[in-house]
Amino acid sequence: MTITPQWLLLSLGLMAGTWILRALPFFTSALDRLPPRAQRFLSVVPAAALGALVIPDSFSAAPLPIVTAALVLAFVMTVKRVPLTITVLTVVLLVWLALSIVPTLT
């Protein structure tokens, strides 16, 4: 079994950055003193990341009507307080079902 050096490098880099972000608050309270604008930026940047992750790449992950239906369903289920696990499992199974019924869509 092989290790791809480039991929290992990427994983180590991600590990370091992620760990630093997770660990900083355990060792310093400096974050509590960030200017309000910076705090507001930090609080909305994950939503921005998610928006750019979903659109437009999800459009080509499956036939567009299925993608749209799946994402709308996931959104509604989450707003209705359905747990994350059940949401993901349900939507994936429904998509699989839809693709099985209409095989030309794959």
Partner: protein, 232 residues
Amino acid sequence: MPVRDFVGGLVAALPIATGYIPVAITYGLIVRTAGLSPLDAALSSALVFAGAAQFLAVGLYGVGVAIPQILFAGWMLNVRHLLMSSVIARNIPPAPVHVKGLMAFGVTDEVFGVAGTEISVSTPISLARLAGLELGAYSAWVGGTVIGALAGEVIPPGLKTAMGLALYVLFTALLAGQIKRGPVRQVVVAAATAAAVNIVLRYGLAAGPGIAFPIAMVAGGVAGMSVPERQR
């Protein structure tokens, strides 16, 4: 009672594990599809333990984006953990440096979801319970990745397509959760701006995902923070 607390933490991790395993299987599968080995898949999950960033990384890696750009995008995505860790860090008993460092490694969205809720009900959370919670989640994530990387080939094509969509379903659900927690207008403006900028860059200017993604994300963040708080 540390042992009982630890086991209690493991039990509390069960719902997280149920959610992680199918997502981790999908991740293992996608890593293989990108031309990497099962060991590559397992290593990345064991080292990074950050699902969304790992999906982002394998997606960008698969289309040939340079490593520094992938790293930048992945780190920005994980900036949210700063805020989660600062809640947990304020609510654990004093601990040696290496213990705090280890506890920090396991702070994922879902671990925070459970630990943060417990903290809001009964502060603080014991170190043994937090350790159990994190270890339970971690085992499911790494184990699921290995299953997906080794057994991914036997999965029928329709299910593969559906599982490939699982990632966007997960992201959409996480986004819906953020919108619900609010501040609603800022979060919606941030996500919509980032998506719109991403479309313009990718389709309008034919930019690669590695360049477009960080720009879109920062633009979304700036737009979101510029929305004034609602006056009460």
